[in-house]
């Protein structure tokens, strides 16, 4: 029994003539189809990321409204220069990633590798700064849990801060801010770490010349991911660092 009995026409994809590259998977009819499927799939994956962070953003929105004063005071503990610098670092990293995609598209192997390396280095810088910030929180007892200490918020003068003191019950809510701070930046950092891992791998493959002969899909998809991680930070930065920078006015 022949296994295709649907009205088949002698097939016509020769007319379209796509070069058959080694990375072309058998079940795709054309290279074009494969590429578009990949982009679309990557975007769907990013949708899940939106919803994943979405839950955290909602929690943030809710508690920010409930415990506004605590959020302001706690947020003022974060360092804007570090945050802003890190934003710039991440944006630059995204920029070089975009250039990397371009370099792959125009088949310039040297540039591609260079850009990916810069992207990776910037990613590491970002994480380094993040480490510095986390470490500061640790020393100040701002890590939620047993060692959390609210005295800085109840009695800011004693710590040389110009903040308004918070009533103890409100000050206790700063812990929620820091919980969300760590949950959100932590999830973000986790995405960065995964991203850097992938970057190293892609850099090595680029160095071997895999992506400078017209096959750019992995670079492109990874670019989407990396930019998405940027976008999350673009929102995290103002929400966490810049809530209210003029205490007492």
């Amino acid at each position: 029994m022949d296994n295709v009995s649907v009205a088949t026409q002698p097939h016509t994809h020769e007319e379209h003539h796509h070069v058959s590259l080694p990375q072309h998977r058998h079940h795709f009819e054309t290279e074009e189809q494969q590429r578009e499927a990949g982009t679309f799939g990557m975007w769907l994956f990013l949708l899940t990321e939106i919803m994943f962070f979405g839950g955290l953003f909602f929690a943030y929105l809710l508690y920010r409204n409930w415990y506004h004063d605590a959020f302001v005071a706690a947020s003022n503990q974060l360092s804007i220069p570090l945050g802003a610098a890190n934003t710039a670092v991440l944006i630059s990293s995204g920029f070089f990633m975009a250039l990397g995609v371009w370099a792959a598209e125009v088949r310039k192997k040297g540039l591609l590798v260079l850009f990916l390396v810069i992207t990776t280095v910037l990613g590491f810088i970002f994480l380094g700064v993040k480490y510095v910030e986390y470490h500061e929180k640790w020393e100040k007892h701002h890590i939620p849990g047993a060692h959390f200490d609210i005295s800085e918020f109840v009695n800011p003068q004693a710590y040389g801060l110009k903040e308004q003191p918070l009533a103890p019950d409100m000050a206790a809510k700063t812990q929620i801010f820091f919980s969300l701070y760590f949950a959100m930046t932590g999830m973000h950092a986790l995405h960065m770490i995964i991203g850097i891992g992938l970057l190293v791998w892609l850099t090595w493959r680029s160095y071997r010349g895999e992506f400078s002969a017209g096959y750019v899909a992995p670079i492109e998809y990874f670019g989407l991911y990396w930019h998405f991680v940027d976008i999350v930070w673009i929102f995290l930065f103002p929400l966490l660092y810049l809530i209210n920078r003029h205490p007492g006015q």
Binding site: Q9, H11, T12, H13, E15, H16, E29, T30, E32, Q33, R35, E36, T39, F40, W43, L44, L46, L47, I50, M51, G54, G55, F57, F58, L61, L62, N65, I80, A84, T87, A88, I91, S92, G94, F95, M97, A98, L99, W102, E105, V106, E220, G223, L224, H227, F228, D230, I231, I234, F235, F237, P238, L239, Y241, L242, I243, N244, R245, H246, Q249
Partner: protein, 111 residues
């Protein structure tokens, strides 16, 4: 019927040509992003009252949009991808607004 000569069955609204964005565009976007980062930091130090978070979020949204459009190539993608992106943010909005119906109206009455 059009689909006959299209082996990939890439019907039009789902299909877009591959488009290479020039580095010049990237640089322009990059500079814009940096400038707006500066603006958002600056704006945080000015007391705008209720407008502070709104301005900050507006700037963040703007930055996100240009990243999506240019760095992520959505401007040059098929309508399908554009719709997909929109659907993601739409669902996120459902999550927020529908949950807020609870939190916002809890204070209204006795309950």
């Amino acid at each position: 019927m059009s689909q006959y000569h299209d082996p990939a069955n890439v019907t039009n609204p789902e299909h877009a040509e591959h488009h290479i964005i020039s580095p010049a565009t990237y640089i322009a976007v990059f500079v814009t992003l940096l400038i707006f980062t500066g603006i958002t930091v600056g704006a945080a130090y000015i007391d705008l009252g209720i407008l502070n978070p709104i301005v900050a979020l507006a700037i963040a949204c703007f930055k996100a949009v240009i990243v999506i459009l240019f760095f992520m190539h959505v401007k040059y993608q098929s309508r399908l991808v554009k719709l997909t992106v929109a659907a993601g943010f739409f669902t996120f909005l459902i999550l927020i607004t529908m949950t807020l119906t609870d939190y916002m109206s809890r204070a209204w009455g006795l309950w």
